[in-house]
Symmetry: C2
Protein backbone atom coordinates (compact mmCIF):
# COMPACT_ATOMS: atom_id res chain seq x y z
CA UNK A 1 0.00 0.00 0.00
CA UNK A 2 1.16 3.45 0.84
CA UNK A 3 4.80 2.73 1.50
CA UNK A 4 4.55 5.48 4.05
CA UNK A 5 7.81 6.84 5.24
CA UNK A 6 8.02 7.64 8.91
CA UNK A 7 7.92 11.34 8.24
CA UNK A 8 4.75 10.82 6.25
CA UNK A 9 3.00 8.86 8.94
CA UNK A 10 3.94 11.40 11.58
CA UNK A 11 2.55 14.08 9.30
CA UNK A 12 -0.73 12.24 8.81
CA UNK A 13 -1.14 11.52 12.50
CA UNK A 14 -0.36 15.03 13.66
CA UNK A 15 -2.64 16.49 11.05
CA UNK A 16 -5.50 14.33 12.15
CA UNK A 17 -4.90 15.06 15.79
CA UNK A 18 -5.08 18.76 15.06
CA UNK A 19 -8.17 18.51 12.90
CA UNK A 20 -9.99 16.42 15.46
CA UNK A 21 -9.08 19.08 17.98
CA UNK A 22 -7.16 16.69 20.17
CA UNK A 23 -4.20 18.99 19.78
CA UNK A 24 -5.72 22.33 20.48
CA UNK A 25 -4.57 25.68 19.07
CA UNK A 26 -1.58 27.08 20.85
CA UNK A 27 -0.32 23.76 22.16
CA UNK A 28 3.42 23.36 22.00
CA UNK A 29 4.72 20.61 19.73
CA UNK A 30 8.14 19.63 21.06
CA UNK A 31 10.05 17.52 18.59
CA UNK A 32 11.47 15.23 21.26
CA UNK A 33 8.15 14.35 22.82
CA UNK A 34 6.46 13.74 19.50
CA UNK A 35 9.32 11.63 18.24
CA UNK A 36 9.26 9.56 21.37
CA UNK A 37 5.54 8.96 21.05
CA UNK A 38 5.77 7.79 17.47
CA UNK A 39 9.01 5.95 17.99
CA UNK A 40 10.90 8.00 15.44
CA UNK A 41 13.70 10.50 15.57
CA UNK A 42 13.41 14.26 15.54
CA UNK A 43 14.43 14.24 11.90
CA UNK A 44 11.13 12.75 10.79
CA UNK A 45 9.15 14.89 13.17
CA UNK A 46 10.75 18.05 11.87
CA UNK A 47 9.97 17.02 8.34
CA UNK A 48 6.31 16.64 9.27
CA UNK A 49 6.24 19.93 11.15
CA UNK A 50 7.68 21.78 8.18
CA UNK A 51 4.89 20.49 6.00
CA UNK A 52 2.21 21.32 8.53
CA UNK A 53 3.69 24.75 8.84
CA UNK A 54 3.51 25.23 5.07
CA UNK A 55 -0.20 24.45 5.32
CA UNK A 56 -0.75 26.90 8.10
CA UNK A 57 -1.80 24.31 10.63
CA UNK A 58 1.20 24.89 12.83
CA UNK A 59 3.38 27.89 13.44
CA UNK A 60 7.11 27.69 13.92
CA UNK A 61 9.02 30.52 15.46
CA UNK A 62 12.72 30.89 15.20
CA UNK A 63 14.54 28.72 17.71
CA UNK A 64 11.32 28.38 19.65
CA UNK A 65 9.75 25.36 18.12
CA UNK A 66 6.31 24.67 16.76
CA UNK A 67 2.82 25.23 18.10
CA UNK A 68 -0.60 24.41 16.76
CA UNK A 69 -1.60 27.54 14.90
CA UNK A 70 -3.76 30.09 16.66
CA UNK A 71 -5.34 32.24 13.99
CA UNK A 72 -6.58 35.58 15.19
CA UNK A 73 -10.26 36.35 14.91
CA UNK A 74 -9.47 38.53 11.93
CA UNK A 75 -7.56 35.75 10.21
CA UNK A 76 -10.37 33.36 11.02
CA UNK A 77 -12.97 35.46 9.25
CA UNK A 78 -10.59 35.93 6.37
CA UNK A 79 -10.11 32.19 6.03
CA UNK A 80 -13.83 31.62 5.99
CA UNK A 81 -14.16 34.21 3.28
CA UNK A 82 -11.51 32.52 1.19
CA UNK A 83 -13.22 29.23 1.79
CA UNK A 84 -16.44 30.54 0.29
CA UNK A 85 -14.49 31.67 -2.74
CA UNK A 86 -12.84 28.31 -3.25
CA UNK A 87 -15.87 26.17 -2.62
CA UNK A 88 -17.97 28.27 -4.92
CA UNK A 89 -15.45 27.36 -7.57
CA UNK A 90 -15.70 23.70 -6.61
CA UNK A 91 -19.45 23.38 -7.05
CA UNK A 92 -19.35 25.62 -10.09
CA UNK A 93 -17.00 23.22 -11.79
CA UNK A 94 -18.72 20.14 -10.46
CA UNK A 95 -22.24 21.05 -11.42
CA UNK A 96 -21.23 21.00 -15.07
CA UNK A 97 -19.73 17.58 -15.22
CA UNK A 98 -20.65 15.46 -12.25
CA UNK A 99 -21.31 11.79 -13.00
CA UNK A 100 -23.67 9.22 -11.45
CA UNK A 101 -20.74 7.38 -9.91
CA UNK A 102 -19.70 10.57 -8.21
CA UNK A 103 -23.18 11.09 -6.81
CA UNK A 104 -22.98 7.63 -5.37
CA UNK A 105 -19.75 8.51 -3.64
CA UNK A 106 -21.25 11.67 -2.19
CA UNK A 107 -24.33 9.86 -0.97
CA UNK A 108 -22.26 7.14 0.61
CA UNK A 109 -20.33 9.77 2.48
CA UNK A 110 -23.43 11.54 3.69
CA UNK A 111 -24.67 8.22 4.99
CA UNK A 112 -21.50 7.95 7.07
CA UNK A 113 -22.13 11.41 8.39
CA UNK A 114 -25.67 10.56 9.39
CA UNK A 115 -24.49 7.49 11.27
CA UNK A 116 -21.96 9.54 13.15
CA UNK A 117 -24.42 12.20 14.27
CA UNK A 118 -24.75 12.20 18.02
CA UNK A 119 -21.87 9.78 18.33
CA UNK A 120 -18.33 10.81 19.06
CA UNK A 121 -17.47 14.39 18.30
CA UNK A 122 -14.09 14.03 16.62
CA UNK A 123 -15.50 11.65 14.01
CA UNK A 124 -18.33 14.01 13.15
CA UNK A 125 -15.98 16.93 12.85
CA UNK A 126 -13.70 15.01 10.57
CA UNK A 127 -16.46 13.62 8.36
CA UNK A 128 -18.07 16.99 7.93
CA UNK A 129 -14.79 18.37 6.70
CA UNK A 130 -14.14 15.38 4.50
CA UNK A 131 -17.40 15.92 2.67
CA UNK A 132 -16.06 19.19 1.38
CA UNK A 133 -12.72 17.64 0.53
CA UNK A 134 -14.51 14.89 -1.35
CA UNK A 135 -16.38 17.48 -3.36
CA UNK A 136 -13.11 19.12 -4.26
CA UNK A 137 -11.57 15.80 -5.23
CA UNK A 138 -14.43 15.09 -7.58
CA UNK A 139 -13.50 18.14 -9.61
CA UNK A 140 -10.35 16.26 -10.54
CA UNK A 141 -8.25 19.31 -9.82
CA UNK A 142 -5.32 18.55 -7.59
CA UNK A 143 -4.44 22.16 -6.77
CA UNK A 144 -8.02 23.02 -5.96
CA UNK A 145 -8.30 19.92 -3.82
CA UNK A 146 -5.17 20.83 -1.94
CA UNK A 147 -6.33 24.34 -1.22
CA UNK A 148 -9.80 23.27 -0.14
CA UNK A 149 -8.29 20.57 2.00
CA UNK A 150 -6.02 23.07 3.70
CA UNK A 151 -8.70 25.65 4.20
CA UNK A 152 -11.17 23.15 5.59
CA UNK A 153 -8.57 21.90 8.03
CA UNK A 154 -7.87 25.38 9.18
CA UNK A 155 -11.56 25.94 9.66
CA UNK A 156 -11.66 22.99 12.03
CA UNK A 157 -8.94 24.75 13.92
CA UNK A 158 -10.89 27.96 13.94
CA UNK A 159 -14.00 26.26 15.22
CA UNK A 160 -11.91 24.83 18.01
CA UNK A 161 -10.82 28.31 18.92
CA UNK A 162 -13.75 30.58 18.39
CA UNK A 163 -16.96 28.59 18.40
CA UNK A 164 -18.90 27.40 21.38
CA UNK A 165 -18.45 23.64 21.83
CA UNK A 166 -20.59 21.43 19.59
CA UNK A 167 -22.38 24.39 18.16
CA UNK A 168 -21.60 22.96 14.77
CA UNK A 169 -24.46 20.56 14.22
CA UNK A 170 -22.48 19.68 11.11
CA UNK A 171 -25.38 20.45 8.82
CA UNK A 172 -25.77 17.09 7.16
CA UNK A 173 -29.05 18.29 5.71
CA UNK A 174 -27.26 21.12 4.02
CA UNK A 175 -24.82 18.69 2.51
CA UNK A 176 -27.76 16.83 1.05
CA UNK A 177 -29.13 20.10 -0.24
CA UNK A 178 -25.86 20.73 -2.06
CA UNK A 179 -26.01 17.32 -3.65
CA UNK A 180 -29.56 18.04 -4.78
CA UNK A 181 -28.44 21.27 -6.35
CA UNK A 182 -25.61 19.54 -8.16
CA UNK A 183 -28.06 17.04 -9.52
CA UNK A 184 -29.81 19.85 -11.38
CA UNK A 185 -26.57 20.72 -13.16
CA UNK A 186 -27.32 24.31 -12.34
CA UNK A 187 -24.09 26.11 -11.38
CA UNK A 188 -25.69 29.14 -9.84
CA UNK A 189 -28.06 27.12 -7.71
CA UNK A 190 -25.22 24.89 -6.58
CA UNK A 191 -23.06 27.86 -5.70
CA UNK A 192 -25.94 29.37 -3.83
CA UNK A 193 -26.50 26.18 -1.85
CA UNK A 194 -22.83 26.03 -0.96
CA UNK A 195 -22.73 29.63 0.02
CA UNK A 196 -25.80 29.15 2.17
CA UNK A 197 -24.25 26.14 3.87
CA UNK A 198 -21.02 27.94 4.67
CA UNK A 199 -22.81 30.99 5.97
CA UNK A 200 -25.02 28.82 8.12
CA UNK A 201 -21.97 27.02 9.41
CA UNK A 202 -20.36 30.29 10.29
CA UNK A 203 -23.51 31.53 11.97
CA UNK A 204 -24.03 28.37 13.99
CA UNK A 205 -20.44 28.49 15.10
CA UNK A 206 -21.01 31.99 16.42
CA UNK A 207 -17.46 32.83 15.69
CA UNK A 208 -16.31 35.34 18.22
CA UNK A 209 -13.66 35.88 20.79
CA UNK A 210 -14.28 33.56 23.64
CA UNK A 211 -11.68 30.87 24.07
CA UNK A 212 -8.78 32.57 25.74
CA UNK A 213 -9.26 35.86 23.99
CA UNK A 214 -5.88 36.97 25.23
CA UNK A 215 -5.00 37.33 28.86
CA UNK A 216 -5.30 41.05 28.76
CA UNK A 217 -8.96 41.17 27.87
CA UNK A 218 -9.79 38.53 30.47
CA UNK A 219 -8.04 40.40 33.20
CA UNK A 220 -9.45 43.73 32.17
CA UNK A 221 -12.62 42.73 33.99
CA UNK A 222 -10.68 42.07 37.14
CA UNK A 223 -8.89 45.34 37.36
CA UNK A 224 -10.07 47.17 40.40
CA UNK A 225 -10.99 50.66 39.42
CA UNK A 226 -11.32 52.03 42.96
Amino acid sequence: MTQSSRAESVYVSLRRAIIEQALRPGMKLPEDAIGEQFGVSRTSVRNALVRLSAEGLVEVRNNRGACVAEPTLEEALDIFSLRRCLEREVVNRLSRKITPAQFAALEAHVRLEKDAVGGNGPLSIRLAGEFHILLAELTGSKPLTRYVSEIVSRCSLILALYSRPHSDQCGVDEHIEIIQALRQHDPSRAMHAMEHHLEALETRAQISNQAEPDVRSILSKYVRTG
Copy 2:
Protein backbone atom coordinates in the same frame (compact mmCIF):
# COMPACT_ATOMS: atom_id res chain seq x y z
CA MET B 1 17.53 41.68 9.08
CA THR B 2 15.92 38.42 8.26
CA GLN B 3 17.80 36.17 10.65
CA SER B 4 17.53 33.63 7.90
CA SER B 5 18.32 30.11 8.83
CA ARG B 6 20.27 28.16 6.28
CA ALA B 7 17.24 26.10 5.37
CA GLU B 8 15.35 29.32 4.74
CA SER B 9 17.97 30.81 2.49
CA VAL B 10 18.25 27.60 0.50
CA TYR B 11 14.50 27.67 0.13
CA VAL B 12 14.47 31.24 -1.10
CA SER B 13 17.31 30.67 -3.54
CA LEU B 14 15.89 27.50 -5.00
CA ARG B 15 12.49 29.07 -5.34
CA ARG B 16 13.87 32.00 -7.21
CA ALA B 17 15.96 29.81 -9.46
CA ILE B 18 12.87 27.84 -10.39
CA ILE B 19 10.70 30.89 -10.95
CA GLU B 20 13.31 32.55 -13.13
CA GLN B 21 13.44 29.33 -15.09
CA ALA B 22 17.10 28.77 -14.42
CA LEU B 23 16.12 25.42 -12.99
CA ARG B 24 13.83 24.10 -15.65
CA PRO B 25 10.93 21.68 -15.15
CA GLY B 26 12.01 18.11 -14.81
CA MET B 27 15.52 18.89 -13.64
CA LYS B 28 16.79 16.65 -10.89
CA LEU B 29 17.57 18.31 -7.59
CA PRO B 30 20.14 16.13 -5.83
CA GLU B 31 20.51 17.02 -2.20
CA ASP B 32 24.26 16.56 -2.19
CA ALA B 33 24.93 18.84 -5.12
CA ILE B 34 22.64 21.57 -3.85
CA GLY B 35 24.09 21.39 -0.37
CA GLU B 36 27.59 21.65 -1.75
CA GLN B 37 26.70 24.70 -3.82
CA PHE B 38 25.19 26.54 -0.89
CA GLY B 39 27.75 25.32 1.59
CA VAL B 40 25.20 23.63 3.80
CA SER B 41 24.39 20.08 4.72
CA ARG B 42 21.72 17.91 3.21
CA THR B 43 19.60 18.51 6.28
CA SER B 44 18.92 22.10 5.34
CA VAL B 45 18.45 21.26 1.70
CA ARG B 46 15.88 18.61 2.52
CA ASN B 47 14.02 21.06 4.67
CA ALA B 48 13.81 23.47 1.76
CA LEU B 49 12.78 20.76 -0.68
CA VAL B 50 9.96 19.64 1.58
CA ARG B 51 8.59 23.16 1.60
CA LEU B 52 8.89 23.57 -2.14
CA SER B 53 7.18 20.26 -2.56
CA ALA B 54 4.31 21.42 -0.38
CA GLU B 55 3.92 24.37 -2.73
CA GLY B 56 3.91 22.19 -5.79
CA LEU B 57 7.08 23.67 -7.25
CA VAL B 58 9.02 20.46 -6.89
CA GLU B 59 7.99 16.85 -6.87
CA VAL B 60 9.53 14.26 -4.63
CA ARG B 61 9.12 10.61 -5.35
CA ASN B 62 9.81 7.92 -2.86
CA ASN B 63 13.49 7.18 -2.53
CA ARG B 64 14.07 8.91 -5.82
CA GLY B 65 14.69 12.44 -4.81
CA ALA B 66 13.26 15.71 -5.98
CA CYS B 67 12.73 17.27 -9.38
CA VAL B 68 11.42 20.60 -10.51
CA ALA B 69 7.73 19.94 -11.06
CA GLU B 70 6.52 19.18 -14.57
CA PRO B 71 2.81 19.85 -14.64
CA THR B 72 0.96 18.15 -17.44
CA LEU B 73 -0.85 20.29 -19.97
CA GLU B 74 -4.09 19.41 -18.27
CA GLU B 75 -2.76 20.49 -14.89
CA ALA B 76 -1.40 23.65 -16.44
CA LEU B 77 -4.78 24.72 -17.76
CA ASP B 78 -6.31 23.81 -14.45
CA ILE B 79 -3.83 25.97 -12.59
CA PHE B 80 -4.55 28.91 -14.83
CA SER B 81 -8.22 28.45 -14.19
CA LEU B 82 -7.68 28.44 -10.47
CA ARG B 83 -5.52 31.48 -10.82
CA ARG B 84 -8.34 33.39 -12.46
CA CYS B 85 -10.57 32.43 -9.56
CA LEU B 86 -8.12 33.61 -6.92
CA GLU B 87 -7.09 36.82 -8.61
CA ARG B 88 -10.69 37.75 -9.24
CA GLU B 89 -11.10 37.53 -5.49
CA VAL B 90 -8.01 39.67 -4.98
CA VAL B 91 -9.17 42.61 -7.08
CA ASN B 92 -12.70 42.21 -5.82
CA ARG B 93 -11.49 42.73 -2.29
CA LEU B 94 -8.98 45.38 -3.22
CA SER B 95 -11.28 47.57 -5.24
CA ARG B 96 -13.37 48.18 -2.15
CA LYS B 97 -10.66 49.37 0.16
CA ILE B 98 -7.50 50.28 -1.65
CA THR B 99 -5.66 53.32 -0.31
CA PRO B 100 -3.55 56.02 -1.97
CA ALA B 101 -0.40 54.63 -0.41
CA GLN B 102 -1.17 51.29 -1.96
CA PHE B 103 -1.61 52.86 -5.36
CA ALA B 104 1.79 54.41 -4.96
CA ALA B 105 3.27 51.00 -4.27
CA LEU B 106 1.62 49.53 -7.33
CA GLU B 107 2.78 52.35 -9.54
CA ALA B 108 6.32 52.09 -8.24
CA HIS B 109 6.29 48.44 -9.12
CA VAL B 110 4.96 49.02 -12.61
CA ARG B 111 7.76 51.52 -13.11
CA LEU B 112 10.25 48.78 -12.29
CA GLU B 113 8.55 46.56 -14.80
CA LYS B 114 8.78 49.17 -17.51
CA ASP B 115 12.47 49.64 -16.86
CA ALA B 116 13.04 45.93 -17.15
CA VAL B 117 11.23 45.54 -20.46
CA GLY B 118 13.62 44.45 -23.15
CA GLY B 119 16.35 43.89 -20.60
CA ASN B 120 17.15 40.56 -19.11
CA GLY B 121 14.43 37.95 -19.28
CA PRO B 122 14.55 36.46 -15.79
CA LEU B 123 14.03 39.85 -14.18
CA SER B 124 11.01 40.60 -16.34
CA ILE B 125 9.50 37.25 -15.60
CA ARG B 126 9.97 37.72 -11.92
CA LEU B 127 8.67 41.27 -11.79
CA ALA B 128 5.57 40.38 -13.79
CA GLY B 129 4.76 37.70 -11.26
CA GLU B 130 5.55 39.93 -8.33
CA PHE B 131 3.03 42.48 -9.48
CA HIS B 132 0.30 39.95 -8.88
CA ILE B 133 1.78 38.92 -5.57
CA LEU B 134 1.92 42.56 -4.55
CA LEU B 135 -1.76 42.93 -5.40
CA ALA B 136 -2.53 39.95 -3.20
CA GLU B 137 -0.44 41.34 -0.36
CA LEU B 138 -2.35 44.59 -0.46
CA THR B 139 -5.53 42.74 0.41
CA GLY B 140 -3.95 42.09 3.79
CA SER B 141 -4.96 38.47 3.63
CA LYS B 142 -2.10 36.14 4.39
CA PRO B 143 -3.80 32.96 3.16
CA LEU B 144 -4.88 34.59 -0.07
CA THR B 145 -1.41 35.98 -0.56
CA ARG B 146 0.11 32.59 -0.04
CA TYR B 147 -2.15 30.91 -2.54
CA VAL B 148 -1.70 33.59 -5.17
CA SER B 149 2.02 33.50 -4.63
CA GLU B 150 2.08 29.76 -5.10
CA ILE B 151 -0.13 29.79 -8.13
CA VAL B 152 1.78 32.58 -9.80
CA SER B 153 5.03 30.73 -9.23
CA ARG B 154 3.60 27.61 -10.75
CA CYS B 155 2.45 29.64 -13.73
CA SER B 156 6.03 30.74 -14.32
CA LEU B 157 6.87 27.09 -14.36
CA ILE B 158 4.11 26.37 -16.82
CA LEU B 159 5.21 29.14 -19.12
CA ALA B 160 8.67 27.62 -19.06
CA LEU B 161 7.19 24.33 -20.17
CA TYR B 162 4.40 25.08 -22.56
CA SER B 163 4.81 28.54 -24.00
CA ARG B 164 7.04 29.55 -26.85
CA PRO B 165 10.03 31.49 -25.56
CA HIS B 166 9.46 35.14 -24.73
CA SER B 167 5.95 35.03 -25.99
CA ASP B 168 4.94 36.60 -22.72
CA GLN B 169 5.41 40.27 -23.44
CA CYS B 170 4.56 40.60 -19.74
CA GLY B 171 1.69 42.92 -20.45
CA VAL B 172 2.76 45.90 -18.42
CA ASP B 173 0.02 47.91 -20.06
CA GLU B 174 -2.54 45.47 -18.77
CA HIS B 175 -1.15 45.89 -15.28
CA ILE B 176 -1.69 49.60 -15.62
CA GLU B 177 -5.19 48.93 -16.85
CA ILE B 178 -5.88 46.91 -13.70
CA ILE B 179 -4.64 49.76 -11.54
CA GLN B 180 -6.90 52.13 -13.43
CA ALA B 181 -9.86 49.88 -12.79
CA LEU B 182 -9.06 49.67 -9.10
CA ARG B 183 -8.94 53.42 -8.96
CA GLN B 184 -12.62 53.50 -9.91
CA HIS B 185 -13.44 51.36 -6.87
CA ASP B 186 -15.59 49.30 -9.17
CA PRO B 187 -15.26 45.62 -8.29
CA SER B 188 -16.79 44.24 -11.43
CA ARG B 189 -14.67 46.37 -13.70
CA ALA B 190 -11.56 45.45 -11.77
CA MET B 191 -12.40 41.78 -11.95
CA HIS B 192 -13.02 42.14 -15.64
CA ALA B 193 -9.68 43.83 -16.18
CA MET B 194 -7.91 41.10 -14.28
CA GLU B 195 -9.72 38.37 -16.14
CA HIS B 196 -8.85 40.04 -19.41
CA HIS B 197 -5.21 40.27 -18.44
CA LEU B 198 -4.97 36.64 -17.46
CA GLU B 199 -6.72 35.48 -20.57
CA ALA B 200 -4.45 37.62 -22.69
CA LEU B 201 -1.46 36.19 -20.88
CA GLU B 202 -2.68 32.70 -21.53
CA THR B 203 -3.34 33.50 -25.18
CA ARG B 204 0.02 35.14 -25.73
CA ALA B 205 1.71 32.18 -24.14
CA GLN B 206 0.00 29.91 -26.62
CA ILE B 207 -0.05 27.19 -24.07
CA SER B 208 0.18 23.90 -25.86
CA ASN B 209 2.21 20.79 -26.01
CA GLN B 210 5.51 21.62 -27.56
CA ALA B 211 8.35 21.10 -25.15
CA GLU B 212 8.84 17.37 -25.11
CA PRO B 213 5.20 16.53 -25.55
CA ASP B 214 5.79 13.00 -24.35
CA VAL B 215 7.70 10.43 -26.36
CA ARG B 216 4.59 8.54 -27.25
CA SER B 217 2.88 11.34 -29.14
CA ILE B 218 6.08 12.11 -31.02
CA LEU B 219 6.54 8.54 -32.10
CA SER B 220 2.91 8.02 -32.95
CA LYS B 221 3.63 9.77 -36.23
CA TYR B 222 6.36 7.31 -37.01
CA VAL B 223 4.43 4.14 -36.55
CA ARG B 224 4.12 2.33 -39.86
CA THR B 225 0.53 1.37 -40.46
CA GLY B 226 1.16 -0.94 -43.42
